[in-house]
């Protein structure tokens, strides 16, 4: 198998700081949206924001951004599967 080790240098503190700041903003957004009484959309919104947050963590803190495409595809597949599982479960509730 070909070498697929990451080919990147050290990531600067600035990137990590920005990532942390983005996570704080998104957390604030989650809290704000939770108080907006959007009905069934409030769950969807919370899940979408959580997905964005976890993606930011995966891509920057866990260095997925610098990995080979195969790893990105695998993570995408996992997120997609989880979204389908959650989607199907909520789908049932909304039609009861």
């Amino acid at each position: 198998m070909e070498d697929e080790s990451p080919k990147h240098g050290l990531v600067g503190y600035g990137t990590y700081f920005l990532t942390w700041f983005a996570l704080l903003v998104l957390t604030a957004l989650t809290v704000t949206v939770a108080g907006m009484k959007l009905g069934s959309l409030s769950i969807l919104t919370a899940i979408v924001i959580a997905c964005v947050k976890s993606s930011v963590v995966l891509f920057f803190f866990m260095h997925l951004k610098y990995e080979a495409p195969v790893f990105k595809i695998m993570v995408l597949v996992v997120i997609l599967v989880l979204a389908i599982f959650i989607g199907f479960t909520f789908f049932d509730v909304s039609f009861r």
């Binding site: 198998m1 996992v78 599967v81 989880l82 389908i84 199907f88 479960t89 789908f91 049932d92 039609f95």
Partner: protein, 543 residues
């Protein structure tokens, strides 16, 4: 063929003679060699299988006549729970991947071991820890769990029996399964021999690859769900309690999101085994290789989206019922593709009716009955009538025992000479198969009829009109167990007294048949370079 091979190869003890840091028992339980770990799993799994068989035998004995026969109703509830928990979590889920997958996956793809050997050993230790907790659940607290293997809320959150510990055992077993899946997926991606492209890989690794993904993606969900049951019991958090805003149907969703794909964790490796046995014993290239490979992935994908068919009468929405029913019908397509391809492989093959092939053909027959009866339940109207009846028990055993169980026995007979370097008594193995096949059908087919007549599952007692079929089923269990005893006695005896075999007693063409029996430490002196597909018998034949 076997005798000629013996002449070529001096009897070798292979990896059994490996000298490591430890000796004796420790050389096994601390070994990171995939073959030793595979055998550790096999021994553990078969011991637990025997325990599960004993519980099944006792259940059938209780049902031999109406009313109380040998046990109290509460004991019966515990016994069917333990039978289910042991057979599902301790035998059939780890069975093929952990035992045969560990042993043969690296060899079949031309690797020296799995990608993470230490993690592999940890998987086995976690498995054993799960077993210990499961056993503790039997003898501690306020009696063994009585919920059935499904641990349905709200009963599981309220019963006074020892559910928490049993559930914790299943939680640990889940981790073992996840690590095995992770190891296999990584091994297949990273350690294939040079030249072994995806479509030069044998079909057993293909099935393990599909299984590995399901293990990785679905098992964490049951882990969290089972933890929630414990939290519910200990702290009354209310996730499944409507009085606190919870939803008991949510438990069923979360449970089946894992547990239906788990059925495919059980059956997919068995399908992989059948795809190995048939071409070898028909001495013919497999028909529709790519379709079989892709259908494994399709089964894993579609099979992960049909869990709601367990919940048609639970109170889930009618719209969800319709969607899950449709998806259930769809998953039959890739399964049927496999069956058609196996049968087509036999066509014009040079068939030698060895014992592994008998098991493989039994698999096709029994799995087809199990699968088609599953489709009947996928139809919403029929499901209402047969839900929670003995029909379901019959269907499930046809798929799981007739499918995976016979696949496991087929694998055992197919690879036994490779694993131990000796051949079993073929006549005895055929007689054992005959008892198993007849006993199996006599035990489980009456359940279809009983269910259709209205006999509920998990009932301790029944009406007199069900007696004849119950009696027949119980007699079937005795025949089946006779077959099991004969089969294991034959195999155990052959470990020491069987005729020695060479590297390729069946005339196989995949890589495991190119190395000595039993395989040497680290499998290959030199990693092979692959320049052809896995089932090319003419050019690649050892003859």
């Amino acid at each position: 063929m076997g005798n000629r091979a013996i002449a070529e190869h001096a009897p070798a003890a292979g990896f059994y003679e490996e000298k490591g840091r430890f000796s004796g028992l420790f050389a096994w339980i601390f070994s990171t060699d995939h073959k030793r770990i595979g055998l550790l799993y096999m021994i553990s799994i078969l011991i637990l299988f025997s325990v599960g068989v004993v519980f099944g035998f006792l259940m059938r004995l209780e049902l031999v006549s109406p009313g109380k026969t040998i046990m109290e109703p509460q004991t019966y509830n515990s016994i069917f729970t333990l039978h289910g928990v042991i057979m599902i979590f301790l035998f059939i889920i780890p069975g093929l991947p952990a035992a045969f997958g560990n042993f043969f996956l690296p060899i079949q793809i031309g690797a020296r071991d799995v990608a993470f050997p230490r993690l592999n050993l940890l998987s086995w230790w976690l498995y054993i820890s799960g077993v210990v907790f499961a056993l503790l659940a039997l003898f501690t607290g306020s009696g063994p769990p009585d919920t059935g293997w499904t641990f349905y809320a709200p009963y599981s959150t309220q019963t006074g029996t020892n559910v928490s510990l049993a559930v914790f055992a299943a939680f640990i077993l889940g981790f073992s399964s996840i690590l095995t899946g992770l190891n296999f997926v990584t091994t297949i991606h990273r350690l294939r021999a040079p030249g072994m492209s995806w479509f030069r890989m044998p079909l057993f690794p293909w099935s393990l690859y599909a299984t590995g993904w399901v293990q990785l993606l679905a098992t964490p969900i049951i882990g969290i769900t089972l933890l929630l049951v414990i939290f519910e019991r200990l702290f009354g958090v209310g996730v499944f309690d409507p009085l606190k805003g919870g939803d008991p149907i949510l438990y069923q969703h979360l449970f089946w999101i894992y547990s239906h794909p788990a059925v495919y964790i059980m059956i997919l490796p068995a399908m992989g085994v059948i795809s190995e046995i048939i071409p070898v014993h028909a001495h013919r290239t497999i028909f529709g290789y790519r379709f079989i490979a892709y259908s494994s992935l399709a089964i894993a994908g579609l099979g992960s989206l049909v869990w709601g068919h367990h919940m048609f009468v639970s109170g889930q929405s009618y719209t969800a019922d319709v969607v899950f029913s449709l998806l259930t019908f769809l998953v039959a397509i890739p399964s049927a593709i496999k069956v058609f391809n196996w049968v087509s492989t036999l066509y014009k093959g040079s068939i030698v009716m060895e014992t592994p092939l008998l098991y493989a053909l039994s698999f096709i027959f029994l799995f087809s009955i199990g699968g088609l009866s599953g489709l009947m339940q996928g139809a919403l109207s029929v499901n209402v009538h047969i839900h929670d009846t003995a029909f379901i028990v019959g269907h499930f055993h046809y798929v799981m025992f007739g499918g995976t169980g016979f696949g496991f026995f087929g694998a055992l007979h197919h690879w036994f000479p490779k694993m131990f370097g000796r051949m079993y008594n073929k006549t005895h193995s055929r007689i054992a198969w005959f008892f198993l096949f007849v006993g199996f059908n006599m035990l489980y087919f009456p359940m279809f009829i009983l269910g259709w007549m209205g006999m509920p599952r998990r009932y301790y007692d029944y009406l007199p009109q069900f007696h004849t079929w119950h009696l027949m089923s119980t007699i079937g269990s005795w025949i089946l167990i006779s077959g099991l005893i004969l089969m294991f006695a034959n195999l155990i005896r052959s470990l020491r007294k069987g005729e020695r075999v060479g590297s390729d007693p069946w005339g196989g063409s995949t890589l495991e048949w190119s190395i000595s029996s039993p395989p040497p430490k680290e499998n290959f002196e030199e990693i092979p370079r692959i320049d052809h597909g896995p089932y090319e018998f003419k050019g690649a034949s050892k003859e």
